[in-house]
């Protein structure tokens, strides 16, 4: 069995809800290590490009579910 991939969808004009893992360490109100965030940015960027052909010409409606801001003790 296989899944539908975001890359295969036409996202123009769509409201997109993205579930991400954003549990990054935060100290004094600043993100101290952002290893996860750039990877997730690529997802946003790709979604953006998919709906508009390029990044600069406007953008789709997007939403994201923020995941975990702080270190997740379960992992």
């Amino acid at each position: 069995m296989s899944v539908i991939k975001m890359a295969d969808l036409d996202l123009a004009g769509k409201r997109v809800l993205i579930r991400q893992d954003l549990n990054v360490p935060v100290k004094d109100g600043k993100v101290t290590s952002d290893k996860r965030i750039p990877a997730h940015h690529r997802t946003l960027h790709e979604g953006w490009c998919q709906s508009h052909g390029d990044v600069s010409s406007g953008s789709p409606r997007r939403r994201r579910v923020q995941r975990r801001v702080f270190h997740d003790p379960c992992r």
Partner: protein, 322 residues
């Protein structure tokens, strides 16, 4: 949420709206192109229980739901599973799809011998992983607090080390079973001990049989590390999850460093995953020499066990029933 939103906005060069009480109040008015960061899903009542009512509210927010959190794909929760049931379209994001492709390819027909290193503090949290992996791999290497329980199972004193007395028999059985299959779960022959858990604690190298009542084992010794490095050098596939010592403190990091360097030098297809493991990969600067780095911890291990990840299962179901 605010530090993460600020950080994102800076990286993307765009405004990021942040919404706290989005389940009850929705996200307010948004325009084409707006990027909205929603408050931590874990704060929502019903998230962990995969509550349908909560999942429906999430699904109502969107036209397309994109699951891109591989690290939580092993949990059936409202934001990972329930929402995918009810969203008009549910799909895998590039990170999740990339993980599934890479891990699937690597494990479908792994080059042998296959070696897994499972470290971490407790046998109890990784028991099923240990049981499953010991059947799949040719050699299982245990490290950290997990190894202490195996050391105790060999009849050695582990002093005040972290270990689980009630799982000593289980550890013994895992070893016996592995040996019956022609494999092994080796325990360290030498260990690095200290009298306290501290950055300044003095490290003492001991034979594993010489650990005293007031010792705490914090790392494997150089002989053990060399033996493991040999195993890794000859492996066809290496799976690494969990450091073998308290590598945050340099005096207890040599074992983990030796493992990391051996993986880097090995010709094996190597996969590393898990938060602590990735920190070690970073610290010893081997990221570009590991074949594949997974962002998942628990999900990574469950995938290795061959378990169906609930968040992936629902995406497959949705794709099938289109």
């Amino acid at each position: 949420m605010i530090p993460v939103g600020d950080h994102m906005a800076a990286l993307l060069g765009r405004e990021v709206k942040m919404v706290k009480d989005w389940v009850e109040k929705g996200v307010g008015s948004i325009n084409d192109g707006d990027l909205v960061l929603l408050e931590n899903v874990r704060f929502n009542v019903g998230e962990k229980k995969n509550d349908d009512a909560l999942a429906k509210k999430m699904a109502e927010l969107c036209d397309v739901f994109v699951m891109d959190a591989f690290g939580t794909a092993h949990r059936a929760q409202a934001s990972t599973h329930g929402v995918a049931k009810f969203a008009p379209v549910a799909c895998a994001g590039p990170l999740l799809a990339g993980e599934l492709d890479a891990l699937g390819k690597a494990l479908d027909n792994p080059a042998r011998p296959m070696v897994a290193i499972v470290g971490g503090s407790k046998v109890s949290t990784k028991l099923t992983v240990l049981e499953s992996l010991s059947k799949i791999v040719d050699q299982l290497i245990v490290g950290g607090g997990i190894a202490n329980t195996f050391i105790a199972a060999q009849g050695h004193n582990v002093g005040k080390s972290l270990y689980e007395a009630d799982l000593v028999d289980t550890a013994q059985k895992l070893t016996d079973d592995a040996q019956a299959r022609g494999g092994d779960i080796p325990v360290p022959t030498d260990v690095v001990c200290a009298k306290e858990f501290a950055e300044t604690a003095e490290a003492t190298l001991k034979n594993v049989a010489e650990v005293t009542d007031d010792d705490m084992i914090f790392d494997i010794g150089p002989d053990s590390a060399a033996a493991l490095a040999d195993v890794l050098k000859n492996a066809g596939t290496i799976v690494w999850n969990g450091p073998v010592g308290v590598f945050e403190f340099d005096q207890f990091g040599e074992g983990t460093r030796a493992i990391a360097l051996a993986i880097a030098e090995s010709d094996a297809f190597s996969i590393a995953g898990g938060g602590d493991t990735l920190a070690a990969v970073d610290k010893y600067n081997i990221a570009d020499k590991v074949s594949y780095i997974s962002t998942g911890g628990g999900a990574f291990l469950e995938f290795l066990e061959g378990k169906q990840l609930p968040a992936v299962a629902i995406l497959e179901e949705r794709a099938n029933n289109q």
